[in-house]
Symmetry: C2
Subunit: 187 residues, 2 copies
DNA sequence: CTCCAATAGTATCATTGATACGGTATCGAT
DNA sequence: ATCGATACCGTATCAATGATACTATTGGAG
């Protein structure tokens, strides 16, 4: 039995945490939780549960009332698959894809002012996200018992990351040409 | 004329920087440069230049000697497309996909020791990458004139990021249960 | 001259991402 | 009661992608 892919685990995990759900509800749960560090397009949230049901990790049941939506339950096999995934401390490396970094990397092929404009824009963007994550963190409170600790931890990392971005782009926008070999700020 | 996608721009950019290339050479260039912040599977490096040639941004020429490989040249249109991309300070937001963060997020559904094991493993991994990027930065020297500054800048950001990861996972592995609402380290 | 490793490229196929489209419930206003 | 607006809910489609397996060429080493 081959391991689940990350998005599959998201589905399993959310259903394990919040109980049986329709794909539509999944969509909402994803948006309010993992979306910003693991986006999943909504069409996938219909395909993935179907596949997991084939594998016996979820069980599909059709509502009898009104709209007859498809509700997916976690099975015993699903729970053990999830636990197994969680118990394995190994994880593939993170992949970051940042178009701005690409532009920076090729900046020498463009015009002189491009870097500063890019840096300013990026600094502003990342300041915005930094504030967003900070305020989300501040809004956490003990009443959302489910996943409070998880949320807090993940936000902390997001904040550290955004801080790094802000530092980087701000310093680039104020001083675009330091000695490239100077290791300042790299230790 | 619709804008190029990021991987297309990578191809344009590398050819602009290093001159005409075969897909195979592209593969090597990608590996030594953008690979760690914008991986491109090698099969793509055969498909993308072909598409760019259709669009008139590259021009294909077949070697006359030996293996008759397909060499791709930058056209004038290609250069302006590249410049145009670089001149636009706007860039889509970065996407980070980190399976370890996912495991952390769902950690409450697993066993108690899982988090620490995960954190230790991740801390080790990221310490490794941090050192890798630091040493690559240290190895930069003025003789590789092409793209020196770009390389240095990108490495600086990578180092900041890895530093953030290391801080995060190390603190989690030594103190897995701080007050989740305590904003320490988040300002 | 032949065999190996490195080089170079192609083929295949399920999975994605993006987006457009099609139905259904709900509720207030007429 | 019914009309229409608005949210709710799901499917369909299609090209692009990722992963991997496979084929072919070449240049030495022995």
């Amino acid at each position: 039995m081959t391991e689940c892919t990350p998005p599959e685990c998201v589905v399993l995990g959310l259903i394990a945490r919040h109980g049986a759900m329709t794909p539509y509800e999944l969509k909402a749960r994803v948006q309010e939780s993992v979306d910003y560090f693991w986006p999943i397009p909504h069409a996938q949230l219909y395909r993935i549960p179907a596949r997991l049901a084939e594998l016996g990790l979820l069980q599909e049941e059709t509502e009898r009332t009104g709209r007859r939506r498809r509700v997916f339950h976690l099975t015993a096999a699903g729970r053990t698959a999830l636990k197994q995934w969680l118990a394995d401390p190994h994880a593939p490396e993170p992949e970051t894809r940042d178009p701005a970094q690409l532009k920076l990397f090729f900046a020498d092929l463009g015009d002189a002012g491009d870097v500063v404009a890019l840096a300013r824009e990026q600094a502003a963007q990342h300041r915005y996200w930094l504030e967003l994550y900070r305020s989300r963190h501040a809004e956490l409170n003990l009443s959302d018992k489910v996943g409070l600790v998880s949320r807090a931890r993940i936000l902390k990392l997001a904040i550290l990351h955004e801080q790094a971005y802000v530092d980087f782009w701000e310093s680039l926008s104020t001083d675009p040409d330091p000695d490239p070999l100077d290791p300042a700020g790299t230790n």
